[in-house]
Amino acid sequence: MAMRALVGCKRVIDYAVKVRVKPDKTGVVIDGVKHSMNPFDEIAVEEAVRMKEKKLVSEIVAVSCGPAQCQETLRTAMAMGADKAIHVEIPAKEFELVQPIHIAKILAKLATDVKADVVILGKQAIDDDCNQTAQMTAAFLDWPQAVFAAKIEKDGDSLAVTREIDGGTETIKVNVPAVISADLRLNEPRYATLPNIMKAKKKPMEKKTAKDLGVDLTPRIQVISVEDPPVREAGQKVDDVDQLITKLKGLGRI
């Protein structure tokens, strides 16, 4: 099939880190905090590499938008098997207000520029949990989308994607070019081996800016305040249903 895959990798705060809110309530503490690739994006990269091993894909281009440190994320993607990388540099301050719609525009432009046949993204990022970028990218490109993919197989000249739905799974036939978003059960990402990390240093990494791609990053939102969720209160035990209804009425819930 020999497709070219564009894979998105977002640099997010590591899943194991306990996130703390900044004292001025403008956001969360980012300085000095461990960051890594979004786990769903790792699954996306892994799937692209597996498709390359199965000869469905001939070239993998990894892309990441954000501050300079995103290059580390891209190097991890290349160590896992991506052939080249594109870093869309967005300064940290500006990046805080960037939303999926901006990223989707960037990815759509890049997909056209590199002539990608399939765009594989993680289904959502673990910092904002938006679950919008893949869908919006498909819309901008006017390409078919297969989100929450749990399995991707070749089906003639198209792809048969098994996707997670509320009731279980469904399998759909998707014409290429398409946008796919990776869900948890798609695969288990490999460890980037140390020799591959060293080889990745020789792979090409391009730097672009949003302006180069003609994308306007003007924020569409304004952050008013970021606060901790309320502390979980202790529960109460009731003896029977009548007491439960009385209590709920008393709290104004019904």
Binding site: S36, A79, A192, T193, L194, P195, I197, M198
Partner: protein
């Protein structure tokens, strides 16, 4: 992100003098000036050592050196003399105060990228508790380690390895040591198993074996120890005889306690190749061979059931008329002992970072416990005795890291012929500190620490071996002391010649007389002025260091004067001298690290300075105590009594006092 130049620029700005004048007054700022003046990273200037830069400091250094004995005239040496040996002569190599910065940006970044998958692998795939219970590392884990590339860390990239230098290797050990069994399995394979090939192999030998060893296709082991030859490595009895046609060596013998003995396909074996009829055991009687299991005749015993590192395979290996191709000899016939010693020397220093890595994790567990557990209405962390344990632990870890990376820097710098002395010092200190601190962590957790559910008791069992293998601490202490005394003896011989010519060298005679008098009053003149090369806040600590160096010099002189060549038999004295030298090296590394941290503005640098100061206070106590025992007579050090009692014990084959309840009459 903290500016690296904050302290230096603040001082420059405030003082308003030219950099060169400032450097003369405050030499410690020198390494960091280049970053301000040229706007380039200090790291690019790391190759030029402090002592050869033309920076206006020559005058200061000259004065410093005048306080030391004049260097005896010798041929131009290619290598510098070892720091750990020169301190026995009271000479302090100021280069050690420039904490090594070996890795330039590119390599530093690559190294840190490598740490991520390794950490992840160890936290997700390595179940240390199960490995300890089963006394086996699962094949899946070993396969994962091979795929990660961890079987060829120091093999050059052209042979398929990672090509790591000593510093990078030491950094990886911090994570790998999180599981003792895995760490020893990997170390037995590469740090000693095929290190001989790396250091002494010919191109053909390397091409033949290194790629397979680096990928883990072949596993290696180091076979030196025998039932009757442990520390006395030169007395091994495994024999190898050259066949009639000169094409093969035939090897017969047995080795014990060989790590990876049961799993390895490639052995670096040491055998006696000298003439059987030769009466004298010489250091040229041993040769090193690369033996493949497939040569036939190689068998191994069952895995030994061990106290710790239970997942690592340890077994007897027997060689029964093994035919070894003649081209599989390492180096020349007779090089074996030298090869064995160099192999062991080359990997020793990483014990510092390995111990530190494991301890940091344990310390977090203990600290978490101390700040959450309450007794008597207060958190454990509020009690003085508990605080003391943590502080001593932090100081030990700090010093272990400083020593390991300083030694790695010395090795990577390539200016020294070998760093055997310093590596031995790191090993002795780190092995004992790791066991001691792990023990304290267990104590802090109390009953919980004793339970197998927590990783501490396993860590304690795993770390017990550190004082035994890779050269027992007793042997290494003797090595440090004797190497130092031998080096001092050579330097002193020239000094004694000069002292015997008072009319030709009157200054020296007077200087020595005054020096001796001051030493007799335990008040040596601190004219090395080491404090000028460190940040001013470390002045008191640097004086302790200087005092220790000068006392070591004095102690060595007194011992050599009193015993001469018989110093070999005075093991208690040698142990004291060695302990002083180790404390000196530890202080040097700690102060160098703290000074740099403060100067480049690392976070928490102020507290690092405190930690270094705290360590030096403790070290000074030990140095003073050891000197007192060296210089004081039998009444102070109890050595005569000790010898007599020891003889009694062995005469009685054990404890000799009569039971306290026994009576001689009723």
């Amino acid at each position: 992100m903290l500016s690296k130049l904050s302290t230096a620029t603040r001082i420059l700005g405030r003082v308003n003098v030219s950099p060169s004048t400032l450097a003369r007054r405050r030499p410690w700022i020198l390494p960091y000036l280049s970053s301000i003046s040229s706007n380039s990273s200090k790291l690019e200037n790391q190759s030029a050592p402090l002592s050869t830069k033309d920076d206006g400091l020559e005058e200061t250094r000259e004065k410093s050196r005048e306080a030391q004995i004049k260097e005896p005239p010798s041929d131009l040496k290619k290598y510098k003399t070892s720091f750990g040996k020169d301190i026995f002569l009271g000479k302090f190599d100021l280069d050690l105060f420039e904490f090594p910065e070996v890795l330039e940006k590119e390599r530093h970044e690559t190294l840190h990228e490598m740490l991520v998958p390794i950490e992840r692998f160890f936290s997700e795939e390595v179940d240390s508790k199960q490995i300890d219970l089963d006394a086996k590392i699962p094949d899946k884990v070993l396969q994962g380690l091979k795929e990660l590339g961890l079987y060829g860390q120091q093999v050059p990239t052209e042979y398929g390895g990672l090509g790591l230098n000593a510093t990078e290797y030491a950094r990886l050990q911090e994570i790998i040591s999180l599981d003792g069994s895995v760490a020893v399995t990997l170390a037995a394979h590469q740090t000693i198993g095929y290190k001989g090939l790396l250091l002494y192999g010919t191109e053909e030998q390397k091409q033949k074996y290194l790629p397979k060893l680096a990928s883990g296709e072949m596993v290696a082991a180091f076979a030196l120890t025998e039932p009757s030859s442990g520390s006395d490595a030169a007395s091994i009895q495994t024999r190898a005889k050259l066949s009639q046609d000169g094409k093969h060596w035939i090897m017969n013998g047995g080795k014990i306690w060989i790590s990876n003995g049961g799993t390895a396909d490639f052995f670096t074996v040491f055998a006696n190749t000298s003439d059987e009829n030769a009466p004298v055991k010489s250091s040229r009687s041993i040769s090193a061979f690369m033996v493949e299991r497939k040569f036939g005749g190689v068998t191994n015993g069952k895995p030994e059931d061990k106290h710790g590192i239970r997942g690592s395979n340890t077994a007897e290996v027997h060689f029964d008329n093994v035919k070894i191709p003649a081209e599989n000899i390492l180096g020349e016939e007779g090089d074996g002992f030298k090869i064995a010693m160099n192999i062991l020397n080359s990997g020793r220093f990483s014990m510092g970072s390995a111990g530190a890595g494991g301890l940091k994790k344990l310390m977090s567990i203990a600290a978490e416990h101390a700040i959450s557990r309450k007794q008597f209405g207060k958190y454990l962390s509020e009690f003085g005795l508990i605080k003391d344990k943590f502080v001593k632990m932090a100081a030990d870890i700090y010093v272990m890291e400083a020593m390991a990376y300083t030694t790695a820097g010395l090795i990577d710098g390539g200016k020294y012929e070998d760093c055997a002395q310093e590596a031995a010092m790191v090993k002795v200190y780190s092995s004992e500190a790791t066991y001691r601190c792990t023990n304290e962590c267990l104590q802090i957790l109390g009953g919980m620490g004793y339970m197998r559910d927590y990783p501490i008791e396993r860590a304690l069992r795993d770390s017990r071996i550190m004082s035994i293998f890779e050269g027992t601490n007793e042997i290494l202490r003797l090595l440090v002391a004797l190497n130092g005394c031998k080096h001092a003896g050579q330097g002193l011989r020239d000094m004694v010649k000069q002292l015997r010519n008072p009319f030709q060298f009157p200054n020296l005679v007077w200087k020595k007389a005054f020096e001796r008098r001051r030493h007799a009053n335990d008040n040596p003149k601190l004219d090395l002025k080491l404090s000028r090369f460190l940040h001013p806040s470390l002045e008191a600590a640097s004086e302790s260091l200087e005092y220790s160096v000068l006392r070591l010099q004095f102690g060595t002189e007194m011992l050599l004067q009193a015993h001469g060549k018989n110093i070999l038999d005075e093991q208690l004295m040698l142990q004291r001298i060695a302990d002083i030298a180790i404390d000196i090296y530890a202080m040097t590394c700690a102060l160098s690290r703290a000074s740099r941290a403060y100067c480049i503005g690392l976070p928490n640098a102020q507290h690092e300075v405190h930690l270094a100061e705290y360590f030096c206070i403790g070290a000074l106590h030990r140095v003073k105590h050891n000197m007192e025992c060296i210089l004081g007579g039998p009444g102070t050090n109890g050595d005569e009594l000790s010898k007599a009692i020891a003889d009694q014990i062995f005469k009685h084959k054990g404890y000799f006092p009569e039971h306290p309840l026994n009576k001689t009459f009723w």
